[in-house]
């Protein structure tokens, strides 16, 4: 009896301790060094959503005595081009550079390894999966800032209508539930379209790296791998063919839009926003847009679920989808003041700044920030706000999977996606198209010195 009481007390103490610490102010970091007189140059991603960060910088300047100069403000792809050019020409004279897990592999010869600048305690709060993606050949090249990954978005009205559910049961012999596998999505999406419940069954971006990434994701979820351990192309295997054939049949049968191959992120989001799409994978970042009733008919009419598992052709190897990436900071090898740059990164990725950014809707990369935003959302008006964060935390923690971290990712994508488009549009068969892409990829990888 006494023992039980004691345990209860301990539990209570632990819980209250946790509650107290959660109420504590989130802390800044990186302010403990005197950097008087140093001018830190930073090349960064631009856009209104990043204002919070710039407000915070003045706190850093006051505490350390350094001045921070923003030398470039560009969107992600322009930033990628700028970094490549600056690195190639030795013109990267800044101390902090924006970076991304999908791009970092191209830059590694030109970046400063960061593991010696950060203690284990300082790295502990960051999601291990993301730090893994930031580590190449044992060197840590970037410190993550915020992450993104895609859950299933589905239209609630389709799943709450008993008549539709009964008709689906009649047609397929299975209950209509929110899909968890790609095959379920296939059956349901077709059913919705064929019976006029939804204009479109599914959508996905259909060009550039966006298409390559979505294929990679479906292939991965079905147990496949784009490259084998020797970096030989492996996407033209049985699984790849099955995925490509699925996409082609969706296009031929009007499950996905007729202009799929012209669509990028905004285009596919627009279709879902208009309430025209039954099911789709979509980034968490679009949440606020979809919930805005002034611009989207789908507001209030959608739910979220964990990424699907892939096609059963993959057997036991199927796993949840989770194409993911993280925005991050790096220090160029040519930085004039690397230590000062590191201090600024410590500050910008600190619990406090990350928390303030997370309040804007970004997915955090730190466990402590996750705790805070989920606690904050517990009393949100819309229960989906909280569900979304809990789901996102699971996906970032367990399903987070970057594309292959090789410098050839974008060149590979440029070879691959036109072939996949040709398959989707019906210009070539799946096997033939993927084989051709594999041959070209192999040549490119050989040129790059892989074999």
């Amino acid at each position: 009896m006494l023992r039980k009481l004691f345990l209860t007390l301990v539990m209570l103490a632990l819980v209250s301790a946790f509650a107290v610490s959660a109420q504590d102010e989130a802390q800044y970091a990186g302010l403990d060094m005197d950097l008087s007189g140093i001018n830190i140059k930073m090349a960064n991603i631009g856009g209104g959503q990043y204002e919070v960060m710039y407000d915070a910088i003045s706190i850093f300047e006051e505490a350390t005595g350094a001045t921070v100069e923003i030398v470039a403000l560009l969107d992600g792809f322009s930033m990628d081009q700028k970094l490549k050019v600056d690195f190639a020409t030795g013109a990267a004279d800044y101390d902090v550079a924006w970076d991304h897990t999908s791009f970092v592999a191209q830059y590694t010869p030109f970046l400063l390894p960061l593991q010696d600048y950060f203690s284990e305690d300082e790295l502990a709060p960051f999601s291990p999966a993301i730090l893994d993606a930031a580590t190449i050949d044992g060197n840590l090249y970037l410190i993550p800032r915020h992450a993104d990954v895609s859950p299933i978005h589905y239209r609630k009205d389709l799943y709450e209508d008993e008549a539709i559910a009964a008709a689906y049961m009649d047609a397929t012999g299975e209950a209509l539930t929110v899909p968890t596998t790609l095959e379920q999505i296939d059956r349901q999406a077709r059913f919705f379209v064929e019976n006029g419940h939804s204009t479109l069954g599914y959508t996905l971006a259909g060009k550039e790296e966006a298409l390559t990434g979505r294929f990679y994701e479906m292939h991965f979820a079905s147990g496949g791998s784009l490259f084998d351990e020797n970096y030989e192309p492996a996407f033209n295997d049985e699984i790849g063919v099955a995925v490509a054939e699925l996409l082609a049949s969706w296009y031929a049968d009007g499950v996905i839009p007729s202009d799929t191959t012209s669509l990028l992120w905004d285009g596919v989001a627009q279709y879902f926003c208009n309430n025209d799409v039954a099911i789709k994978l979509e980034w968490y970042g679009w949440y606020a847009y979809f919930q805005d009733a002034d611009s989207c008919a789908v507001a209030g009419n959608f739910g979220l679920a964990r990424g699907f598992t892939g096609l059963s052709v993959g057997g036991d190897a199927v796993r949840p989808s989770g194409w993911a990436g993280a925005h991050a900071f790096s220090v160029p090898a040519t930085a004039p003041n690397p230590q000062a740059g590191v201090q600024l990164i410590k500050f910008l990725s600190s619990e406090r700044v990350a928390y303030e950014e997370a309040l804007l809707g970004f997915l955090p990369t730190r466990g402590d920030v996750w705790d805070r935003v989920i606690a904050d959302a517990s009393d949100a008006e819309n229960p989906l706000d909280r569900e979304r964060l809990e789901l996102a935390r699971i996906q970032v923690g367990e399903d987070f999977k970057t594309p292959p971290l090789i410098a050839e990712w974008i060149p590979f994508s440029n070879i691959f996606y036109p072939h996949l488009q040709a398959i989707i549009l019906g210009d070539v068969g799946a096997q033939e198209g993927l084989d051709a892409a594999a041959a070209e990829t192999r040549e490119m990888m050989a040129d790059a010195g892989y074999y």
């Binding site: 204009t199 060009k207 007729s258 202009d259 191959t261 012209s262 974008i410 040709a422």
Partner: protein, 318 residues
Amino acid sequence: MVANSNSPLGKGAAARLVEVSRIEAGFFPFALILPAVILILLVVGFPLLYSLYVSFTPYELLKPNSLNFTVARALRNYQKLLNDDIFWRSLLNTIVFLAVTVNLSYVLSMALSQLLARVTVGQSVLRTLLMVPMMFAPILVGMQFRWFFNANVGLVNNFLISVGLIQEQGQIAWLVDVPLGMITIIIASIWMNIPVMTIILLAGTLSLPTETFEAAEVDGASGWQKFRFITFPLLAPFSYIALTIMSLDIARAFDIVRIMTDGGPARRTEMLWTYITRLAIEDTKFGLGSAMSWITVFLSVLFTLYFFRQLVKARIVR
């Protein structure tokens, strides 16, 4: 030269074309031309030679050491291109695009100029309307037509649905389907080319001698016969001016393709220009991109030279 009796364009002597006798002036004309030549050599000549050098190397921007010339590898980029199906496909697309665009632009501009020459009401307003496409940068032309031909919210599909020609589910994917993708790009390019060509042909038509037509009328020539045997041959120099100017600007079609389809989907509208951009800028393969650049330079210069020669010939016949 072209006789000119009653051109309404440049009333008076200023519009007369005269065969000039040129003056000997030693080095003075060279001094006048020198700055222009120096600048062109600096910005066009030297860079082109440099790009010829780069095209013989395996240079990739992210691998600074790859910019070195070895005799053994010198022709590798060109060999690669010749064995590259996509290169041949983009070359074929480019040739088809040029042939159709140039010919159709010319035919339509000729028709429009003959139409405008007969207009009696609101000539100046019509001429301003004619110049509207000139106010569009090529990149704007592309943006505009990409929107008009958008499958989901485009003007063209909306119109077809409104008048009941297609169903909402049957939206036509203009920029995707074969051969609609090529056709939409060609429509956009023709729209952009029409004003300058029409203006030149119209000015030419208005400057033709009235007497010839009166004589033909007396002989009972039909409208088509007058055009075929009088207007068209007399317009030859103007036609070649228009075609030469167009050939100088034809590469601007790149802007249109880039923004409308960027060569896609599945390389269905890939042209030399978009493929160069993909190779050199996106994949940072400057060596390979330069090799292909040189092929396009060669083709463009040939194209212009051809029309220029025709222009000179047409003048001599007069």
